[in-house]
Symmetry: C2
Subunit: 129 residues, 2 copies
């Protein structure tokens, strides 16, 4: 399972790096690791966003507005299915939006040798902290 562990460490590293940039108001970290055919839900979009162009348009609206002082990926878990990796966790953050706890699903797919997000679902967890 060494290969599987390598994949999991790689994907978790991608997510952490994207979050680090996100917390500085920079959504490009995420945009760079999203696949062209990504689908996306969060509590602020009225409908599912389909495709990187729709996601880019959405992220451009929050660019520079978010500042996270400290955060944590809580209890990450992977389910690996061939070239699909489902990463689920809760995300706790403290910053410009106050204290937040999210439920998060990220499905990664191997695309031309790189792991890219093909589906994201972010939602508010029951309890903030």
């Amino acid at each position: 399972m060494a290969d599987e562990e390598t994949i999991l460490a790689l994907v978790l590293g991608l997510e952490r790096s994207a979050l680090d940039r996100w917390g500085k108001g920079d959504p490009d970290g995420y945009l760079e690791i999203n696949a062209p055919d990504v689908t996306y839900f969060d509590p602020f979009v009225e409908r599912r966003l389909d495709g990187i162009a729709a996601l880019t348009n959405w992220y451009d609206q929050v660019r520079g507005k978010i500042k996270i002082d400290r955060d944590e990926i809580v209890d990450p878990l992977f389910q690996l299915i061939g070239e699909a990796a489902i990463l689920t966790f809760q995300f706790v953050s403290h910053g410009s939006e106050g204290a937040m706890r999210w439920n998060c699903t990220e499905v990664y797919r191997k695309v031309d040798g790189d792991w890219k997000i093909v589906h994201s679902h972010w939602s508010f967890a029951k309890n903030k902290i």
Copy 2:
């Protein structure tokens, strides 16, 4: 792509049948199509539920309490990755809980010839209707 279309029709049928039973207060339709290693988020659980035993315990608490009069799977979309199928949609329902709109992610995996849910993420959509 005939094979792919067959899979998609099959999986959407599984979801619809499970929802039909759910709307009559019967969670067993879902429990029967969940995999042993399912992971699960909804807005009412404090943490991710891991495994069919945890999900069964949770669903047992709502058994018989939900009554959906009419509902709709809105704009379902599939992303097929080998033996993983990501189904995303919004779900609009009218019934005992009032009018609801959900964002929904269901990841199915082929397990011993049957498609089973390995990850569910249900959350409130921005607008109810």
